[in-house]
């Protein structure tokens, strides 16, 4: 079913408003142990802004990966530029004029803004880079959208928000893509830069290009999109015109029935213990403000919020990794302000890092050595480690968290993602802290491992300790928490007890719609 050979090549970027730019049919992607996408269909036309929405784990990022040629679907076809591809490589996608901008702006820090813009497409004259021409064109582009950046600035001096805009402009105007995918690329933008992005998107639509926007924010999508496609559990739920939708109906489409089939937590009783941790008016400028809450022994407290709402930063502040600027923390009735993780650990406050590879694991160490990393001092007598005691405790944790591996001596870098995460959790458990700060403990693990981790938290970790857990989605929190704090724009918008959990209401709260 390839296109006739006689058809003229499409010039990427040529405006053919209304025509189909991308057509996906029957896209299925199966990972070992999980189905990420199931029979997904998607149509994107030239001259439209198409939004893609869904909860965490609904399959958005997998779908975006398929569109951009980064992930190979298990089955299905992708029609782009009048050609059917059973799978699209990144090079083919690029030739077809598909550009993608992700939420993490990757630029080269030590060269100028202009060079970053034209990287890979330098204007040349006689084999040499035509620097005056390059700077001239860069200046034009920057001025056109009212960016207050000099083309000759060092790119590393730009803010995160400005770097992101730079990449968007590069994808849209320098690479001249005909299909632009903005994968949560508005996340790092400031309010002013978000306005600029809006102008860019409008300009692209008028030029007859296709824009696919992925975002967690209902308001943003309703505002910029012409049509919206909602994914849930790896399936296409609906494609609707944005003008036919309002906040409530869109939210309902995204959340669905909100009925989790199987519950991890078996008991519904309230936590029995006394107050363990009290946080009062905690503030870190630019991250969160005036945050107050308490944690009791045996309680699982969830913190829900969009990316950038400050959920990670609050945990890091308590753990002393990025200390707060103001406010007080009381642990077991005593005021404390940890300035570094080692101090927090000594007082029984352990933090599970969100960035597993970068902050959680020593890859070339064995499972055993990772498991006892936090608690070496406990197993030592005057500086010397008691090997037998270490082995015993490591084996104990190894059994408790059920890591799948040949032996304790296997290097952690040889394990799968879910098992690595269990090693990090196990490492904290070995130390036996009073307060667990679990930052997205189920991030990037498959369904089976996720269930295992959640029941581990309920059954083995909770005990007499207090647990604070964050998650980008609501499912996990609703499943196991006693209470959920809703965080919106760095402030606690609401505190909801287990009896009152309602996924739709919580979803609206996170979006900041209130009641």
């Amino acid at each position: 079913m390839t296109a006739p050979a006689t058809e003229t090549m499409n010039t990427p970027g040529a405006g053919r408003a209304g025509e189909s730019a991308l057509r996906l049919r029957g896209i299925t992607k199966i990972y070992p142990g999980t189905v990420a996408l199931e029979d997904v269909a998607l149509d994107v036309r030239y001259g439209e802004v198409h939004g893609l929405m869904g909860k965490n784990g609904a399959g958005k990022s997998t779908l975006v990966g398929v569109l951009a040629g980064l992930i190979e679907p298990t089955s299905g076809t992708i029609a782009v530029g009048g050609r059917d591809y059973p799978r699209l490589t990144r090079m083919q996608a690029k030739r077809e004029g598909i550009a993608i901008v992700t939420q993490e702006p990757e630029i080269i820090l030590d060269i100028t803004v202009a060079e970053n813009l034209f990287l890979g497409d330098f204007p040349t004259r006689g084999g040499f880079v035509d620097r005056p021409e390059m700077f001239e064109r860069a200046r034009e582009l920057l001025d056109r959208f009212g960016l207050d950046i000099g083309a000759e600035f060092r790119a590393g001096d730009l803010s995160l928000s400005e770097r992101q805009l730079l990449l968007i402009i590069k994808a849209c105007y320098v690479e001249d893509a005909s299909v632009v995918i903005l994968d949560e690329s508005s996340a790092p933008l400031t309010r002013k830069d978000a306005q600029i992005l809006r102008r860019i998107v409008g300009d692209l639509r008028d030029a007859g290009k296709a824009i696919v926007v992925i975002s967690h924010s209902v308001d943003e999508l309703l505002d910029v999109c012409d049509r919206l496609t909602v994914l849930r559990d790896g399936r296409t739920i609906a494609t609707r015109r944005a003008s036919d939708l309002d906040r409530r109906t869109l939210s309902e489409l995204i959340v669905g029935d909100g009925f989790t089939a199987c519950r991890t937590r078996s008991d519904e009783s309230a936590p029995p213990g006394g107050e363990l941790l009290a946080v009062e008016n905690l503030t870190r400028w630019g991250a969160f403000e005036g945050v107050s809450f308490t944690l009791r022994r045996g309680e699982i407290l969830g913190i829900a919020g969009l990316r950038g709402s400050g959920r990670t930063e609050i945990l890091k502040a308590i753990a002393g990794i990025e200390p707060a600027d103001a406010g007080t923390i009381e642990l077991r009735g005593r005021a404390c302000a940890f300035r570094r993780p080692s101090e927090a650990l000594k007082e029984g406050v352990a933090y599970l890092p969100e960035e597993r590879e970068a902050e959680g694991l020593i890859g070339i160490f064995s499972i055993r050595d990772n498991l006892i990393l936090n608690s070496l001092a406990q197993f030592a007598r005057s500086g010397f480690i008691r090997g037998g005691e270490c082995d015993r405790r490591a084996a104990e944790t190894f059994g408790a968290v059920q890591i799948r591996a040949f032996s304790l001596e296997q290097a952690v870098e040889e394990l799968s993602g879910g098992n690595r995460q269990k090693v990090v959790i196990g490492r904290i458990m070995t130390a036996g802290p009073d307060v667990y700060l679990l930052d997205e403990p189920t991030r990037g693990v498959d369904i089976g491992a996720k269930k295992g981790i959640l029941s581990l938290i309920c059954e083995k970790i909770r005990g007499n300790a207090g647990v604070i857990i964050t998650s980008p989605g609501l499912d996990d929190l609703i499943d196991i928490c006693d209470r959920i704090l809703v965080l919106c724009g760095g402030r606690i918008a609401k505190s909801v007890a287990r009896a009152d959990f309602d996924e739709k209401a919580l979803f609206m709260d996170i979006q900041g719609f209130g009641q």
Binding site: S342, D369, L373, A380, F406
Partner: protein, 341 residues
């Protein structure tokens, strides 16, 4: 994990000693007088200085940094102390050989402290920092000791020069070396400091988050490297019964080679004390064999370079073989699981 696999992996992880035995057997067969007791003692004696530098370099490598100033410290530390005791303040406490030995070690450790503080607190790049210190110290040594100072106090030169007739004429330096290696083996394997130190090299950020004072670890690595370089300086000065400005020249790069031969990772987090000892002895054994074979001195360096190249090549094969063995085991396990259904 099956026992068979365990044995294979253990052999692979200790490949330096297998290479060493293999090389020894080949030389014993083909090089006249190689396997004699006297020559073995000779090899060990000649390895001592290099092995201190290998341990110094390897130690810093394990924390993910490196140190280019070790051979300059080797010359500077004893040079400064001897100069102070003989020229500047003769007849004072500085002339006491025991004090001089302690001071030599202290000067080495202090220079290491300076390196470590600059790298970990001020965030200087380890390459540039230690390169600059290396050039400064070499220059100062040349300025302070234009001519060699000799003879030295017999106590000061004892560990570099003395031999014990009772144990087959074995030099004191060999015992010192083995003792130091044993000490650091225990430190690395069995102390909290050692494990935290290796963790810092394996992933500095993760170690910090896990509550390890990573900056202190890095400083300690340089301090230990400085002190070990000073020990190497004591051994050198003792052996030649003098201090001169050329002591140890050009040994830093070979120390890298010895540490890598011994299985230390360039990117930190991995390495063992005995592995490095093996690496150092292999280097010494190799140049000894070339000597006995009458290979021109001018060719020795190129031959050593070739040995290092071969070692890196073997190490690459080792890592691939290790991965292949583990994958095979995993497949076997999958088959078993499949069969059970």
């Amino acid at each position: 994990m099956s026992n068979d696999l365990k044995i294979k992996l253990t052999l692979l992880d200790n490949i330096i000693w297998i290479m060493l035995l293999f090389f020894f057997a080949v030389c014993a067969a083909f090089v006249p007088a190689f396997a004699s007791w006297n020559n073995i003692v000779n090899i060990l004696y000649h390895t001592t200085i290099m092995s201190m530098l290998v341990l110094a370099q390897g130690f810093v490598l394990m924390s993910g940094k490196f140190d280019l100033s070790i051979d300059a410290i080797l010359a500077f530390a004893p040079g400064l102390v001897i100069l102070a005791g003989t020229k500047w303040l003769p007849g004072t406490i500085l002339s006491n050989p025991f004090v001089a030995i302690a001071l030599t070690l202290a000067v080495g450790a202090l220079l290491g402290l300076f390196n470590g503080v600059c790298v970990s607190r001020l965030g200087m790049n380890a390459f540039m920092q230690t390169l600059s210190v290396s050039i400064i110290l070499r220059g100062l040594t040349l300025f302070l000791i234009p001519l060699a100072i000799f003879p030295l106090d017999p106590v000061y030169s004892f560990i570099g020069k003395a031999r014990f007739a009772a144990v087959g004429n074995m030099p004191a330096a060999v015992f010192v070396t083995f003792g130091v290696y044993l000490f650091f083996h225990i430190v690395l394997k069995h102390t909290v400091f050692g494990r935290n130190y290796l963790a810092t090299g394996g992933n500095e950020r993760a170690s910090y988050v896990a509550g390890i004072d990573t900056r202190r670890m890095i400083v300690m690595g340089f301090v230990i490297a400085g002190a070990l370089s000073a020990v190497a300086g004591l051994l050198t000065a003792g052996r030649q019964d003098s201090v001169s400005n050329t002591m140890g020249s050009g040994m830093t790069m070979l120390a890298f080679a010895g540490a890598l031969l011994g299985g230390t990772s360039m990117s930190g987090g991995k390495g063992s004390s005995f592995g490095m000892l093996g690496g150092a002895i292999l280097l010494g054994m190799f140049s000894n064999a070339l000597n006995l074979l009458g290979v021109q001195v001018t060719l020795v360096h190129a031959a050593q370079g070739t040995l290092i190249f071969l070692a890196i090549l073997i190490d690459r094969f080792r890592i691939q073989l290790r991965g292949a063995l583990l994958r095979k085991e995993q497949l076997k396990k999958l088959h078993h699981a499949g069969g059970a259904h």
